[in-house]
Assembly symmetry: C2
């Protein structure tokens, strides 16, 4: 690319700063702890459902409304029909929500300065002014400041709960304060990681018309490779999302994704087993990292956020990479001393600790 | 929904008029000729690739760039790396193209008034002013008028070639006239149906930096249920699309869709066989419909556009539906006398003709 804007591009294209996902390299024997995937395979019921769906007419369009999947989400969360929207991964769901609710001319969208870095990318995509609210000294979301700022008027509020990349969770009382502080705007609670120990805001939906809760099957359902996410909220919010979706792509979920997602959502026993494994492994890893001298934030997610007082995070990440262990290091203000480490199997975490011991020795 | 705009919605949400896809009802024994699907199943190689991919780590994110699929498209069309963009169905690819190229403040996007009705929905979604250019008396695209209007300045040009729902194709010379008429703007040629007898503009890409050609695997590759489409153009156009994609959804294609698409694209023999079957069946159906008194437009697509001088199209569609045969009738100006009939198997088309004979008798 030259310095000048290429011809043909819309004026706003050149100004975009796209999101950069964690790398997906093909290194033999790689221990991949950099993109918060689940180390366990999906439920066998998901795989069976996919195999069946592949034989049942892939030459036909899917159901544009993905009604069967919406029903499965309703069952799982005890919601009513019309309170669920589904999309091609929670990233697409988030993008549509930004479009539907946060394009409020002259008002800023509030979210923490340390959070999922895609939020500011969506804001830029749709010309939404972001107001980044600093997290506190412990990297926790400053609910007081958010609520006070929201009360002055805003385009909406976005919080990830638990937050990424910190893993720190907010109690439901904090979510309720935000809902009350912006009663005319949507408060989007991104619960991508909630199944690993967080407190879900879904039970608040019945009482709060401005609450939208977003989930993904990429983490706790081991289906990052299938791209399914969903949003839950009162019917007018879901209707707005459907209007955007139906103006963008009639069929965002393919037949295999819908079938696999239903299979996974209906397998409660497998879900419980694997998420417990991840949480137990996490607690063990916290102790081992602390033994190695790391500071580790309290995590309700399937990752840890850790720093070592005597070692540069970028160098640690590079050292691990040289030993075929990937973790994520964000070269960003306030968090560049930290590493985000996804929770793998016990064996993978054991290998991580060994490699760190070698590097620190 | 009440008359007032629901709270929480962005101002533009209430004004959207979403696209309405053809219905996907579950009627036993249904002959479904309403959404231009392929009557034949996908290539066995596609299904094998899907089965393999399902066993290879669905808990992991896909390659965000879908590099292997882009390479398969390059092989198929003799393009260079960097000249292919892939997306979650050609609808998503089109949406990103509208965003990337046609948001040109103060200028109108040109497309025929009779064409794929999603184009005006995308325009509305992104606040692009559409200029609908009337088709001629034979429902053909008026290339003279388009070129003349483009020469006065425009945000770009979109043509479906062959056009939908007419099935009429343009020669490449016409595409070249449009490319020359708007040298500073993108000319998007939507070739969803080109494999059924149309002339592809892909060979023009090397000479025309403003040409973007969009294909889908939903029609000639029998994969409507898998949601894969792609765009081809010179590298700066693809880079613009990647910037939008990476600001919207890092991983629009799931692992199964990518694998299945590669399997289908690499099975040239199956592709040739099934598309020939569809074209042969189409030519037979044209004669049978003409025997029944229908006017049938010359089609280069996997559907026919036909009207009967003595019978109301809506009533014919309703009569067919009552007999478990679905065709598509658009209640729109200029084309409400016409039926769009997808080409099914020989047996399905035979049944359609029988049912029409009953209705017309």
């Amino acid at each position: 690319m030259t310095d000048s804007v290429p011809p043909f591009w819309s004026p706003r294209i050149a100004a975009l700063e796209p999101y950069v996902p964690g790398e997906q390299p093909r290194i033999p024997g790689l221990v991949k702890l950099n993109t918060n995937e689940n180390p366990y395979p999906p439920s066998p019921r998901a795989l069976q459902a996919i195999a069946r769906a592949a034989q049942e007419g892939l030459e036909r369009y899917p159901d544009p409304a993905s009604a069967a999947l919406r029903e499965a989400v309703c069952r799982r969360h005890a919601l009513r029909p019309g309170e669920v929207f589904v999309g091609n991964g929670s990233d697409e769901v988030l993008a549509h929500a930004f479009f539907a609710f946060f394009q409020q001319p002259g008002q800023a969208l509030l979210f923490p300065d340390v959070t999922y870095s895609f939020y500011k990318v969506y804001a830029q995509l749709y010309g939404i002014e972001p107001a980044l609210m600093p997290v506190d000294a412990g990297l926790g979301i400053d609910v007081d400041a958010l609520a006070a700022r929201a009360a002055q008027g805003c385009a909406g509020i976005v919080v990830a709960n638990p937050n990424a990349p910190t893993g720190i969770g907010l109690p439901l009382a904090a979510i309720e304060r935000l809902l009350a502080a912006a009663p005319q705007r949507v408060v989007l609670v991104d619960e991508a990681y909630v199944d690993f120990g967080g407190e879900s805001a879904v039970p608040l939906i019945a009482r709060h018309p401005n609450l939208l809760v977003v989930h993904t099957l990429s983490k706790s359902r081991s289906l990052a490779g299938l791209r399914v996410g969903y949003a839950m909220g009162q019917a007018p919010l879901v209707e707005a999302l459907d209007r955007v979706k139906n103006s963008f792509n009639s069929y965002p979920l393919d037949r295999l994704a819908e079938a696999g997602a239903i299979g996974a959502l209906d397998d409660e026993a497998y879900f419980e087993h694997t998420r417990r494994e991840v949480m137990d492994t996490r607690e063990g890893l916290v102790l081992q990292l602390e033994d190695l001298g790391f500071d580790v934030l309290p995590s309700q997610a399937n990752f840890l956020f850790a720093r070592h007082p005597q070692h540069d995070a970028g160098e640690l990440a590079a050292g691990l990479r040289a030993r075929a262990v990937l973790v994520r290091h964000f070269r960003q203000p306030r968090i560049d001393a930290w590493l985000r480490i996804s929770i793998g199997t016990r064996d993978q975490c054991g290998l991580l600790v060994q490699r760190l011991q070698e590097i620190l020795a």
